[in-house]
Assembly symmetry: C2
Homo-oligomer: 369 residues x 2
């Protein structure tokens, strides 16, 4: 297999992260936060991670208009031409297709890849190796996803099922396999059964594909959406951008790339998966977040600086955000998120239900969203 | 039995209330706080409760010098002559004996009664009836305690064991009985056994006794302490008070009235108990405090005003002290105490252990005590 070419990376930076409330807010979504105590936000870590595999100036961010200034501030090297500000959220297909269509017009049939702005990956070498193989397989015409080797039967992630090895330019690829299908988040028994087969990987939502291949698939699967994207992309680098964007963007179908392209194209045999054994997490909720942090000597995980005094609270997660001393007594696995206007007390077991709390805030507490 | 005479009430206002940390602090002890959401502090409620049974100007408060200004501010009707400021804590015997000795010098052989500043009583009529009978029995020479009818086998309180009825002036008292003995806080099995006998009442630490009887007992049991108290009391209403207090007070034995008088005099047959069926609580910890508050529609008890949003948190106790929204999810019986500099998260089950947390604060967190 030839040495892989560089990538035009697309980073959709959206999503409210409501399961991380009150840490994550409408005005301060997950990707703008440092959730690992590293000193870098998830968006900055995503940029850092992609820089070695992307071409020079080849990282674009698609985000809501409200977050565009914060994105530019956090990513000093991004360049305004690589910021795509959405007037309103239209889900991942529109976001990725627009950035891909503009990249194609600027650079030709480059390989693009979409990488969420709010995931954590702890093995950079494995990530780079997987991306480089994915780019090579994408060059051959596949839609390529990176499938994470599952180390436990998670019910929080979707899965991708791998079949036979893929051939690229007449040779068997290093590790890429055909994708037989994608699954929704399974229940616990199903997840265990998936793991036992050895065929399933976690679907990390990373897609690598030639820009022309992506847009051709979009044209076949969602012609109206493809047409709208093409009209905006044609105008993007000219004087009519704002007018066309304002007129066309609100009409675009809201659909995820998984449903619009990955699933139907997989059914046609056009999707490949490159397995990757690397620490990966979508930091979806406080249970995930706890798993990313080191325990202190009392078995408590603390995000950031803060004074925490814990007794019999092993497994607890504390996010101290007000400078106060947080004292835990006899509350193992508790989750305490201390912010200036809202305090959350729950347990890791209930982490997935936090989004329901946000849903129940009601008009009188709208300022807390 | 003749109509009972009025009482000179003595209110020892001490104790750190460390099991109610971080609500109760060194500088803001339990008795200075409104712990029932009534708008009146425990000290104010104690004063209100005693006013109907005490003589005019017949309520005295004994407290540490540091709290004297706050006591005077909270009790506008107290009068400075009824405030006894201790230079240092010498436990309840010295506090009560000093106030009793001064009352005797001012008013003769009046009946005095000691009532803690930080208890809650919810049946005023029953309280007054018990005190009036106690005063009558005390007039006849007994040390009288008020014993609370136990409604559950508490392990948090000491017990008093009642024997045969007492005779006063040749007639059997309404309900007073000889005290056979006092017990420490029992274990659960012992407490249940106490309840089954019907002989045991909770020891609420209320003692009613003629001032001369109290001081005679003190003289017999603790002659050195009695002598020191007499020297201070002799000087109290004259120019030498400060000098004598500063010289003698630090030499006084630290001992509780229970050990110094109640137990040995009970062994001699000199203590009576007046049973009282009334809601009573020493508000010793957050479990007790929760029991004093009404549940809201989500089964949560909230002390004071505050925005609390709870899901699956029945039995929880929240003390909102910072104006933030406190959100609970899946944490039944949790205790959340939210103060500007310290946040405590524990459960009602661990309420008694909170004092250990205060003990472990260490020098770096001394400002939080």
């Amino acid at each position: 297999m030839p040495h892989a070419e560089p990538l035009h990376a697309i980073v959709p930076a959206g999503g409210a992260g409501t399961r991380l409330w009150p840490l994550s807010r409408r005005g301060a979504p997950k990707f703008l936060l440092d959730l690992t105590g590293s000193g870098r936000t998830l968006l900055q870590q995503t940029f850092d991670r992609l820089a070695p595999v992307a071409s020079a100036g080849g990282i674009a961010v698609v985000t809501g208009s409200a977050h565009a200034p914060a994105v530019l501030e956090q990513l000093g090297n991004l360049g305004e031409e690589n910021l795509f500000a959405e007037p309103s959220p239209r889900d991942s297909m529109a976001a990725i297709a627009l950035a891909a269509a503009v990249a194609r017009r600027r650079h030709g049939d480059v390989v693009v890849g979409s990488f969420a702005a709010d995931h954590v990956i702890t093995d950079q070498d494995a990530f780079e190796a997987a991306v480089r193989e994915a780019v090579a397989v994408a060059r051959a015409g596949y839609v390529v996803t990176i499938g994470i080797e599952a180390d436990h039967p998670s019910t929080a992630f979707g899965y991708v099922r791998a079949g036979d090895p893929v051939e690229v330019d007449g040779a068997v690829a290093d590790s890429a396999r055909h994708v037989l299908g994608f699954t929704e988040k399974p229940d616990a028994d199903t997840a265990a059964a998936y793991l036992a087969t050895g065929q399933y990987r976690w679907n990390a939502g990373m897609f690598v594909v030639r820009a022309d291949v992506l847009l051709d698939h979009l044209c076949a699967q969602r012609p109206e959406l493809a047409s709208g994207i093409a009209e905006i992309a044609d105008a993007w680098d000219g004087p009519a951008r704002d007018e066309v964007l304002a007129r066309v963007w609100p009409t675009l179908e809201k659909v995820a790339i998984d449903h619009a392209i990955a699933e139907p194209v997989a059914a046609q045999g056009g999707v490949a998966v490159v397995p990757a054994a690397m620490g990966w997490d979508d930091v979806g909720d406080f249970e995930n977040l706890a798993g990313l942090l080191q325990e202190d000597q009392s078995g408590v995980r603390v995000l950031g600086d803060g004074d925490v005094l814990a007794t019999d609270a092993a497994g607890a997660l504390v996010v101290p955000g007000t400078g106060r001393t947080v004292t835990l007594l006899g509350v193992p696995d508790v989750v305490v998120v201390d912010t200036p206007d809202a305090l959350l007390v729950t347990t890791r077991e209930h982490a997935q239900r936090v989004k329901n709390v946000v849903g129940s805030l009601g008009p009188s507490r709208d300022h807390l969203r």
